[in-house]
């Protein structure tokens, strides 16, 4: 009994030690975008201060901002910015293929995917949106606590080499964001996108790739195997495969792009060697623009 508790606690601490770091980095990343990019520029229901205006007839005394009004003879009302909450649902690939990096100086693909996803979530939550995961695991909510929940949920991994996007539980007319390397079978992706499009959901596809997956700099006799070890391929001259590999990759990207345009989504390929901020900016603008 005690053992179980101890294990649980240790694991929990391990997990906890992971996601605050992710959270902190995501916050940091989000902080670079937050400034001056959000808000409705209108007064309305919201948390953020918009402007003071003189008291008019009809305003309740309660709405008077006494701190401001005490400075002069007039009474002022504090108006808040009008905010409309929207639901944004994320899916971040937790498959084993995401736990890969070609260089110790580069982050793993999964790490980068989570970072960008969480930073986007933070930005959206700060903007008043409700953010959650697809599926039933974590429905969209707002508030800072949701960020913690998201971070926690993001640290879950699956053992499968390539996981399929979760398209269940997508709220109609919401927004969605799928982050993956999209190296697995594309048919489920297509199915998920079509399903989402059917429900009027639009969003972004962020493909995160390692630079070696883009350049295929291998030579000589090599046995390639997937991270989980389920797939392997042996070649005698890896160098010869390069062009054909790149062709296939381009084909796949092209398919994703076509698919996303067809369904009204936006697609981008991000490499872990590039800065996370560029991906975040793109995602944020894509989300904002889609609004």
């Amino acid at each position: 009994m005690t053992d179980t508790v101890t294990h649980l606690r240790r694991d929990a601490q391990q997990e906890a030690s992971r996601f605050p770091a992710l959270l902190a980095r995501a916050e940091h990343l989000a902080g670079t975008v937050l400034l001056g990019e959000h808000g409705r520029r209108r007064s309305g229901m919201g948390d953020d201060f918009w402007q003071y205006r003189p008291l008019r007839s009809g305003d309740s005394y309660r709405s008077i901002d006494w701190r401001r009004s005490a400075r002069g003879d007039e009474q002022f009302v504090r108006e808040r910015e009008w905010q409309i909450a929207q639901s944004v649902q994320l899916w971040v690939d937790g498959g084993a293929s995401m736990r890969f990096t070609s260089d110790q100086n580069l982050p793993q693909k999964g790490e980068r995917a989570r970072l960008v996803a969480l930073a986007t979530a933070i930005l959206l939550i700060r903007g008043g949106e409700r953010v959650g995961f697809t599926g039933w695991q974590l429905p969209p909510r707002n508030g800072d606590v949701q960020v913690l929940r998201l971070a926690e949920a993001l640290s879950d991994d699956t053992e499968d080499d390539y996981s399929e996007p979760e398209a269940r539980g997508i709220i109609p007319h919401a927004r969605a964001m799928f982050v993956s390397d999209f190296l697995g079978d594309l048919d489920p992706v297509e199915a998920a996108l079509t399903k989402a499009a059917d429900r009027g959901v639009r969003g972004v596809l962020l493909q995160v790739l390692d630079p070696t997956e883009e350049s295929f700099p291998f030579k000589g006799r090599t046995i390639f195997h997937s991270v989980g070890g389920s797939v392997a391929h042996e070649t005698l001259k890896a160098g010869d495969l390069r062009t054909r590999y790149l062709e296939r990759l381009a084909e796949r990207k092209d398919r994703l792009d076509r698919l996303s345009r067809l369904t009204g989504w936006q697609y981008m390929c991000h490499h872990t060697s590039e800065s996370a901020q560029s991906a975040l900016l793109w995602v944020y603008r894509a989300m904002d623009g889609g609004r």
């Binding site: 190296l183 030579k219 000589g220 391929h233």
Partner: protein, 932 residues
């Protein structure tokens, strides 16, 4: 050993292993490199892709070649290759006992080390072959004892040459000693021809095979130095005629401080195929006397060293006569005969006693000098004590004086009777007296007395107890003719007759010269005859070893005089410097008449030289090469299989390349601290330095920079017209790159957006300010902002000036020197006429002296002037000299421009003259003080 050209193999059978190489090639080629397992999520994209070639990926040919070469190098290396293996022949190749005969003379000393090395190799080989070896040195023959080569090898360093040659007697002795058994001989010859060689060769050949070892090295000998016609002549010989050669001769001796030094060095040129060369040295007497040996530099042989004895050393003799009656007849001069007798062999000094004493002559001759002044006497006594020889001659004056009459004069060997005597003259009874034979203890002993030497007059010695001991020559009647007394290390010798032929015929005879010689008054002639030296014993002073090194003789026994001259050198007569009674004699290895010929060997004898290609074992190199090749193979294999470069080319390859580069390239020499100035920079700097040049700081604002330049051009023109300052065209300076030291003043227009200079530029600016430069900061905003208010330019100025070393400032006081350096000014307008112009604050203790119009202000130029009047605009002119910027309106504006120019003139004057005008105010006071 198997030979392949110059290559030999100790284990040639191993080379058969090379045959296996083609097989290895095929095997290696068939085996592909092992696969790498690589994690790669993109593998799904690869599924189903087929390799274009279905054949196995083969090891590339060059990698195979590297491996083959490595294996081949190992095989060849193990086969023990030797470059230039030494062929054994003659005596070396035999198996019986081996006798090593060495001439071991001085002539072989010069390459003794090589001989030792050759002997070492020989002994090593003999040791391997288990041959007993004996050694016979002909210069010091000892009965040869055959023993293990190792024993001899251990003594090898102790086997040295002797500074003499194996003469006939020694060779005969050596032949006697030869054992009767059969043995081979290895003769290390010194290369000189000797008659005795044939005998020994025959004796050796009777017992076995003979191999001769001879060095082909150039062999130089140096004959003794001769002194002829005031020059030192040295003759060099070489054994074999050869090409032109230059040889350096050095004369060693003591320098004036007493330290050994090379006193003279000269080169001699051997003409093509000449065997003799001569060197003529013109040396001052003092230098000549100090030379202790001549040697051929680098020869390291006793034959290349010659010790000069007294033959080089000419004695210095001072001749002083009582009456130098130059009007008398030359033959009657008291010094004429001495002059003639001594001149060929001695350096004569003329002059008074005071003059010659400091020259410390060897001999002072006083001919008929009776008395010396007390000072002279003391000086002469001191000189005598330290080894001088005072030679006195009698004469009428001495005879007439009272010198040494009652008491023995310290400078007289004996007391003299008054008057002297005359015999054999017209007025006397007796016959002229002749000389008695010299006693055995006399220095003149052995000299033949000619019959015609007669004495007619002499001064007489008082009979004293010491007299008998002091007489060294006497007349037949027993009266002393020459007396001598030792004083300290020196001696006083009195000839009781005159130095001319007045009193005796002695000076006319050859005996006189010989007597002077014996008294060491004159130097010895070059070669003394053996008879001259009969009965004398010479003590070795310094001796030579075979290598030409001069060593102390220690307690070597003395050598008889006649032997010293003629006996052959040997252990009893080591070459060196020998000390006789009053002089020294050198016995050199090479004498004047030595002739050396190269040894000639019969055809049947094989003669080896020292220089033969060295035996070089190559196994080590080959094995090292194999390892290097294998390392290359490792790197190449890694690179080929993608393990080296592959995914992270930077980390692996770069590190290896860097390591290679580090190991291959030498550490680069330190780059110059400052980049070399370009020619244009240099030209600009020279122009700026050659003329007074006003400069402005480039702000990066093109328009402003142009305006500033135009302004300074206008100011320069005004200066040119009105003052004696004639500036060159103004320049713009880039604070980062340009040298500031050439400019007396910098005009710095401040804009709100100009870049802050770098730290280096600030360091330069501070240097400039400290060394007397001035910067005129112009914020150009006086129309809108008072100074110090926060206009953007003002704020920028604060930023710009913060790192500068600027003293406390104040607005220009009324009595500042800027107000009167050229024009009297109280306003400093530019385009604007603000009065806010700031300069370095006056010292707090600056007081106004009563009656003076100005305070006694700081002594130097204010380092900064700060204002906002946009002076450049007021000064600016275009190419035609017309003002560029409109100032004010109408006449008032032109007046302001004029004042602005005046301010500029004052400013430049202030920069160039400092507080000169400030000092001028003191002129009235100074004039007043001077009473004008």
């Amino acid at each position: 050993m198997t030979m392949l050209g110059p290559l030999g193999f100790t284990a040639p059978w191993l080379l058969l292993g090379l045959l296996a190489l083609p097989v290895l090639w095929i095997i290696l080629r068939a085996v592909p490199p092992a696969p790498i397992r690589r994690m790669f999520p993109g593998v799904v994209l690869l599924l189903g892709l087929k390799d274009a070639e279905q054949v196995t990926d083969r090891t590339p040919w060059w990698l195979l070649l590297i491996r083959m070469l490595a294996v081949a190098a190992v095989i060849v290396g193990l086969a023990g290759p030797v470059l230039n293996p030494q062929e054994q022949s003659g005596a070396e190749a035999g198996s019986g006992p081996l006798l090593v005969v060495m001439d071991a003379s001085w002539s072989s000393a010069s390459d003794w080390r090589q001989r030792q090395a050759a002997l070492d190799t020989l002994l090593a080989r003999a040791e391997r072959a288990a041959r007993p070896v004996a050694l016979l040195r002909l210069t010091a023959p000892e009965a040869p004892q055959f023993q293990a080569a190792g024993v001899l090898k251990s003594r090898l360093t102790g086997i040295l040459p002797e500074p003499w040659e194996p003469d006939d007697a020694r060779v005969a002795q050596a032949i006697e000693m030869l054992p009767d058994e059969e043995f081979d001989s290895y003769w290390m010859s010194d290369g000189l021809a000797r008659d005795s060689r044939a005998l020994l060769l025959a004796a050796l050949e009777a017992r076995g095979e003979v191999t001769v070892f001879e060095s082909p090295r150039a062999h130089y000998t140096l004959a003794p130095a001769r002194f002829e016609d005031g020059h030192v002549r040295l003759t060099l010989h070489r054994l074999r005629p050869g090409p032109e050669a230059e040889v350096t001769i050095a004369g060693h001796g003591l320098d004036p401080a007493g330290n050994p030094a090379v006193l003279v060095r000269n080169t001699v040129r051997f003409e093509q195929s000449a065997t003799e060369a001569e060197l003529e040295l013109n040396l001052p007497a003092e230098l000549r006397a100090r030379i202790t040996r001549f040697e051929i530099e680098g020869a390291r042989s006793a034959g290349a060293v010659t010790l000069p004895d007294d033959s080089l050393r000419r004695r210095e003799v001072a001749l002083i006569a009582g009456n130098e009656n130059r009007e008398g007849l030359e033959l009657l001069s008291p010094l004429h005969f001495l002059d003639r007798a001594l001149e060929p062999t001695a350096d004569l000094l003329d002059g008074t006693l005071e003059e010659v004493l400091p020259a410390n002559p060897d001999v002072i001759v006083l001919a008929d000098v009776a008395t010396l002044s007390p000072g002279e006497e003391a000086g002469v006594l001191e000189w005598l004590e330290s080894g001088g020889t005072l030679l006195r001659f009698a004469g009428p004056r001495l005879a007439a004086s009272d010198v040494s009459r009652n008491d023995e004069d310290p400078l007289m060997p004996v007391r003299l009777r008054a008057g002297g005597r005359s015999v054999g003259g017209a007025m006397s009874w007796g016959e002229p007296k002749s000389l008695a034979p010299f006693a055995e203890d006399s220095p003149f002993f052995g000299l033949a007395i000619p019959d015609d030497v007669t004495v007619t007059s002499q001064v007489m010695a008082q009979p004293d107890p010491t007299l008998a001991a002091r007489v060294i020559a006497q007349l037949t009647d027993g009266t002393p003719l020459v007396t001598r007394k030792r004083v300290g290390q020196g001696q006083v010798v009195l000839f009781h007759v005159t130095a001319n032929a007045e009193w005796s015929s002695l000076p006319l005879s050859g005996l006189f010269v010989q007597m002077l010689e014996r008294l060491a008054v004159s130097s010895m002639p070059a070669a003394p005859a053996p008879e001259d030296l009969e009965g004398t014993i010479w003590q070795p002073l310094r001796v030579l070893d075979a290598f030409g090194r001069v060593g102390d003789a220690g307690n070597l026994p003395g050598v008889a005089g006649e032997a010293l001259l003629s006996a052959p050198l040997g252990p009893d007569l080591i070459p060196g410097l020998y000390q006789g009674e009053d002089r020294s004699l050198a016995r050199n290895v090479v004498s004047v008449d030595s002739v050396f010929e190269p040894a000639v060997w019969p055809e049947r004898i094989s003669v080896e030289g020292l220089s033969r290609p060295e035996e070089t074992p190559l196994a080590g190199w080959l094995l090292a090469g194999a390892i290097a090749l294998l390392l290359a193979d490792v790197i190449a294999s890694l690179a080929l299989s993608g393990r080296l470069g592959g995914t992270r080319p930077r980390a692996g390859t770069a590190a290896i390349l860097a390591a290679l580069a580090l190991s291959l390239t030498p550490v680069p020499s330190r780059a110059q601290d400052s980049p070399a100035a370009s020619p244009e920079d240099e030209a600009a700097a020279m122009l700026a330095a050659s003329e007074v040049t006003l400069a402005h700081v480039l702000t990066g604002d093109r328009q402003l920079d142009d305006l500033a330049e135009a302004g300074l051009r206008g100011l320069s023109d005004i200066l040119f017209y009105r003052t004696s300052v004639e500036p060159a065209a103004p320049m713009g300076v880039d604070l980062e790159t340009d040298e500031l030291a050439f400019y007396p003043m910098l005009y710095w227009p401040v804009t709100a957006d100009q870049p802050i200079p770098s730290d280096a530029a600030y360091a330069k600016l501070n240097d400039y300010l400290r060394s007397g430069g001035m910067i005129l900061f112009d914020t150009r905003d006086s129309d809108v902002a008072g100074f110090g208010t926060s206009s953007p330019e003002g704020r920028k100025l604060q930023d710009l000036a913060a790192p500068l070393d600027i003293p406390p400032l104040e607005p220009i006081p009324q009595d500042h020197v800027l107000t009167r350096t050229f024009y009297l000014l109280q306003d400093f307008p530019g385009r604007y006429a603000s009065r806010d112009v700031w300069v370095e604050a006056a010292a707090p203790d600056a007081e106004q002296v009563e009656g003076m119009p100005f305070r006694n202000l700081n002594d130097n130029v204010t380092p900064v002037v700060i204002g906002g009047n946009d002076w450049a605009s007021a000064w600016a002119i275009d190419e035609r000299g017309a003002p560029l910027v409109r100032i004010g309106s109408g006449f008032a504006g032109e007046r302001q421009r004029e004042i602005a120019y005046r301010f500029g003139v004052n400013l430049v004057m202030h920069v160039l003259t400092g507080n000169y005008k400030s000092d001028q105010v003191h002129v009235p006071a100074l004039l007043d003080r001077l009473g004008q």
